[in-house]
Symmetry: C2
Subunit: 338 residues, 2 copies
Amino acid sequence: MSRITVFDPARRPRILAAASAVGGEEFHGPLGPLFDYHDESDRFGADTWEHAEGALSHVVLSLALKRAGMDHREPDVLFAGDLENQCVASHEGLGSFGIPYCGLYGACSTVGEGLTLASLALSAPGGARVAAVVTTSHYCAAERQFRTPLEYGSQRTPTAQWTATAGGAFLLSRDRGEVEIEAVMPGRVTDAGLRDPGNMGAAMAPAAADSLLRYLEARGEGPGDYDAIVTGDLAKDGSCWLSELLTKEGVLIRERHFDCGTLLYDYEKQDVHAGGSGCGCSAAVLAARFFPAIARGEMRRVLFLATGALMSPSSLLQGGHISGIAPVVCLRRREGDV
Amino acid sequence: MSRITVFDPARRPRILAAASAVGGEEFHGPLGPLFDYHDESDRFGADTWEHAEGALSHVVLSLALKRAGMDHREPDVLFAGDLENQCVASHEGLGSFGIPYCGLYGACSTVGEGLTLASLALSAPGGARVAAVVTTSHYCAAERQFRTPLEYGSQRTPTAQWTATAGGAFLLSRDRGEVEIEAVMPGRVTDAGLRDPGNMGAAMAPAAADSLLRYLEARGEGPGDYDAIVTGDLAKDGSCWLSELLTKEGVLIRERHFDCGTLLYDYEKQDVHAGGSGCGCSAAVLAARFFPAIARGEMRRVLFLATGALMSPSSLLQGGHISGIAPVVCLRRREGDV
């Protein structure tokens, strides 16, 4: 059981508070009213898209700290990452809090990696008492860096996803909060030989399938043991491929599967092609939609598979592939004081 | 003590094996004979510098596994990172091992962040039994990405550092190995307002000073409690600035201070300006020079401060700064079975 860490039920890490912030497009989607903060201009007071993402990360951690009634000096460690080169949005936006910092790169899966490592840091004897996790993404910064600047007006293919301008922050504690982390499992790097930067879902679906099958087998469980199986940002096409891959293995999740990238936008009214993606997509939707549902007891046990496409533009130009990864976090409503 | 994790002496994480690999310039430096593997061409069998770094990461983990007599299926988790955008060298070079993967970005300090998180993962009840840490850097890939491609023949300033073509791998265990990890502490992001990509030492020295002072104060210790205080890659100028910053606070380390970036090259014969830098610099020198010295009992207690300059070329063009970070790892010879 060492690849999956199942925490002692009496000492599970707990999520004390979560906060979310989004841009205009995300605010106008079906989850709009659930987000804690939005900026219609996507600028968050900054003068470039890259700096806007840093400002977004600062806003979202400030909101989570306020909700927890916590001073910025209280978290012992901060796990953070984003999609910009050198994860610059995170350390520029969050450095001024002065919280000991661990930078992560898990592409769009970073919030899952962060929750995993924060949980381990809280569980280690002598480790952190309070840990923060923050991840963000920004549509305009991501398009410029990974594909083409928006000003070029490139055509997007039907499988292309819309990198969410969004961020989520979580504060984890050893002894406070209604949502517990029951188990965590890091993902493996899966390489299906893909090379299309307009089709991230295809790169992530095999990773999600690999992680879900390994997880369920190790725990001796099936999808029916969960109220919801939530993937990060497979979007419309990736979700179908995950369903196909799992069906081949006799695992059926469709009726309890939710995908953050699919939930974020209104496909009828918004021109987002396959749906949402990005570090901030799964983080904001987890913070705004699923975390409160678990805290209120509407869902009792949720399996969260953050999904990431490890895509490097320079490697693609050199013949490299787009790998995928999907860390797993099992969340549950705390029992006893419901 | 929650920002510094001091492990229970009976249950300290242990480093079972380490391995290093370097390019030609590093092999011709004073530490050359200590490295486990070198490639005079810096290509490691690959056709681009970026892919060469991936190949280097694969070689160095293979060597560490061989030294430990360990199959690639044994590590429960792998912490890895490098300097390439999207940390692509690490997941491309290491993904095929199939080890559950956590990607890190701590710039040149990544090996310190990796050892910190691996130690916490081993200590958490139900956590990993064996963890791997791998970091790499490549001179030609880094110059092209962060400054200018080598073909441009740009002039380098005296404070410029030479990103090492190097990598280090460490295998950590709960119950095997002569070198123990006594304590770990994540670094804080320090922003001294610097903007010169030809002077990384200036950005890292304040971070190293911040971490060392916080660490020594929290533990009630002084530099004299250590056989060596080893910084990652401050190089010649950064080491002087660290010394000045500490002297102001009444802390004198000079006689026991070693810097991996300063040790790696021969300043008389090699044109490396201020000295070495990079994720792989501190990892390879720790693996080849200090880890064996501690394992043999020549050094009993060593404080390792990996240093990183969180430099983003795109942020610099937008008026951003180069921040620094320096996680701390306290290493010691295992007692009892010496």
